[in-house]
Amino acid sequence: MNDRYVLEMKGISKSFGATQALDNINFQLKKGEVHALLGENGAGKSTLIKVLGGVHRPDKGEIYIEDKNVVMNEIEDAQKAGVGIIHQEIVLVPYLSVTENIFLGREILTPLHTRDMKKMNSKAKEMTERLGLDIDVTTKVGTLSIAQQQLVEIVKAISFDIKILVMDEPTSSLSDEEVHKLFEIMEKLKADGVSIIYISHRMEELFAVTNRVTIMRDGTYVGTVETQETNTDELVGMMVGRSLTNYYTRDYNMSNTEVLRVENLTQKGVFEDISFSVREGEILGFSGLVGAGRSEIMQAIFGNEKYSSGTIFLNGKELKFKNSMDAIKNGLALVPEDRKKQGLTLINTVAFNLSLVSLDALKKGGLINNGKKDRMVDKYVKDLNIKTASVESPVSSLSGGNQQKIVLGRWLATNPQVLILDEPTRGVDVGAKAEIYSIINDLAKEGMAIIMVSSELPEIINMCDNVCVVKDGRITGRLTKEEMNQEKIMHYATGGQ
């Protein structure tokens, strides 16, 4: 036994039916370290966390917390053992205040058995202040930003006196600024002796914040490395089991033919004076912080949201799209940022989701023709390398990367001239990301004009011909690919002097 470890998971195996989700996994967490768990979607990270959290019981293996063998049968067992888990999706009650959420189910009572709000509020205030958060604890959680809600989750988790904190992709919906804030808080937690298991797909974050990285692949343990002694290529290689030589694929081939031009597009209070143009074969990036108004600009161009003034030219002709149907007819396509909420009908099939926007092309004598539909669906499943058991499988059974490819396929099936991609690789694992980059590159090569909204700077820098940086609804900077770097983009995005 080694008292340096606050947590040891030994030989953990777990299968669901025929699927071996975890196969003899070993994992050790040192006291006060941030330890990343890295692997593609389906590698078994979530299952391992669920075993630790008492959601799944392992078939084999043992868990030691501070050298004591613990059996996690229930979620409560994990809480008692000092394990706190922050899930990707926020699980707070929106209509309750910050305090009420923190103390939900273990309220402090007065002698008369009513809730002692005064005491709870002051305790909640103390806890938020200790982490350096500036939140009024009496506000309803639903009115807070996603980032603030996530911080409330952290406060709630550590209010249980935890030793181990698991964070499952906490930054996936945060802006860079908010990510920095989160990292500061993690440093404070570390100083307090909390050990953190950190799950993220963003490589640069792992290097910024973790001490060690454990890599998993297909339910097996691949290895653990010191963060300072490794690099992205090595980690990616361990994750995918082969070396990805070309993570970003890009053959620059922008033509001089302008396809879409937007002039002085304005919607008061949302975005103002937006002007840009995109040419055949160009990938035009839109960078900026989350909430800067980039998605709103794209939805307005596409006819889904209103704008009060400004003009849109398509192939030199002035147009105004009444609604998205109109935009689609004119050769525009928009892949929305949130594939689960805005992109897919999760309960429906691959075939349904792929064909939804291009049903007109599948008609024969007024009715939808199954043969045509099958051919169309098969084409995109093959072209985009969508991995699914059957085209009749529900989309919810597919991995994030394959789901994203389906949204992309749905819009490619409309044969657009202009493709707007809003966060095309959010929540997608490394292998699928590389595939999506290569697909986007192929589309640009065929002459499609592409607008790519992205919060990931490496993605913008490695894929785009030009970038517009948006801050508070205005374009604050424009850079060509020769001028682009992280510092310049961040400078414009944050409005630094």
Partner: protein, 333 residues
């Protein structure tokens, strides 16, 4: 999982149909077998035709309800529309001496209007369907009572009563013919038209449908209008079969239609389900009622027994995933 074999063609679509309705098909078979043993009259052609005629009215409503529930809504007003259209149509003919054809058209139109009204309020003002149709349920029923003064009106016109009591080729009751025709038409609409696909899209994820260029409001209005039309049609056929317009008719019919949908495996949260499921669901409800009649269970007890059987059937159906899982595991071992 990760193989790229993706060839589900039309013949295996039938297999998929049977598979997705497996639970309720088993329930239907079970009840059928039990009834065949309990009463010799169950499996006779005359009894089967009589069951089909009995369920036809529920199926008219259940078809509309299927569309509404897949859309993510509910329509509580259909039972009252049945009463309203039947009472008004008969009244127009008997009391107001309006020609039969015209009276039927007006009757259908008024029911359809109630449906359209539901659709407009729901889609434009974004009021939940449950509340809107709860209100129009009372309104439509109120119209029937006000117009008739609460009394039923007898109709002696042979042409009118033919509609509900006549036969095709002397053996198939006309309501059964309408039923089959409507099932075919709406299967095509749901599975083969853009509108049908859009119904699933709006019910499955409204926001995604909107961003994909689906005209959400039009789809919602059309679905509720169809539901109103089918209820008005059911009301006219029912009044014809009863030789009278009765404001009390159609009481609780909306619940039978919802029960057929739920038995047929349609999720109340919308986005999934099939018309074939609803039809099987309606048949199950039909043979339960018929069987209880044949065995001689009193009508008071029938309600209780019917409710219990529906509950058990739904529990069996909801466990089908687990059952087929267990079978799959056994096979492997």
């Amino acid at each position: 999982m990760s193989s790229n074999k993706v060839n589900i063609k039309s013949n295996s679509r039938t297999v998929a149909l049977v598979k997705s309705n497996m639970g309720i098909l088993l329930v239907m078979l079970l009840i059928g077998v039990v009834l065949t043993f309990l009463t010799p009259n169950f499996l006779t052609s005359s009894n089967i035709i009589s069951v089909l005629r009995q369920i036809s009215n529920n199926i008219f409503l259940a078809i509309g309800m299927t569309l509404v529930i897949i859309l993510g809504g509910i329509d509580l007003s259909v039972g009252s529309i049945v009463a309203m259209s039947g009472t008004l149509t008969v009244g127009f003919i008997v009391t107001n001496h309006i020609p039969i054809g015209l009276a039927i058209i007006i009757g259908l139109l008024l029911g359809t209007l109630v449906g359209l009204f539901n659709g407009v309020i729901i889609s434009v003002f974004k009021v939940p369907a449950f509340i809107v149709t709860l209100a129009t349920m009372n309104i439509a029923k109120g119209v029937a009572y006000i117009y008739s003064g609460g009394r039923s009106t007898r109709i002696t016109s042979e042409v009118y009563s033919m509609l509900g009591t006549g036969y095709l080729f002397g053996i198939i009751p006309l309501p059964v013919v309408y039923m089959i025709a409507l099932i075919i038409i709406f299967s095509i609409i749901l599975n083969k038209t853009k509108f049908g696909t859009y119904v699933y899209a709006v019910g499955g994820n409204r926001e995604s449908a909107r961003l994909s260029g689906v005209p959400i409001k039009k789809v919602e209005m059309l679905v509720f209008t169809i539901s109103g039309f089918l209820a008005a049609f059911a009301g006219i056929i029912l009044s014809s079969r009863m030789y009278s317009g009765q404001p009390k008719a159609g009481d609780g019919y909306e619940m039978d239609a919802i029960a057929a949908c739920v038995l047929g495996g349609i999720s109340m949260s919308g986005g999934t389900g099939s018309l074939s499921g609803t039809v099987i669901g309606a048949i199950v409800i039909g043979i339960i009622s018929n069987g209880l009649n044949l065995i001689g269970v009193s009508s008071f007890w029938q309600l209780l027994v019917k409710g219990l059987i529906i509950l058990i059937a739904i529990i069996i159906d909801s466990q089908k995933a687990r059952i087929s899982d267990t079978f799959a595991k056994r096979k492997k071992n």
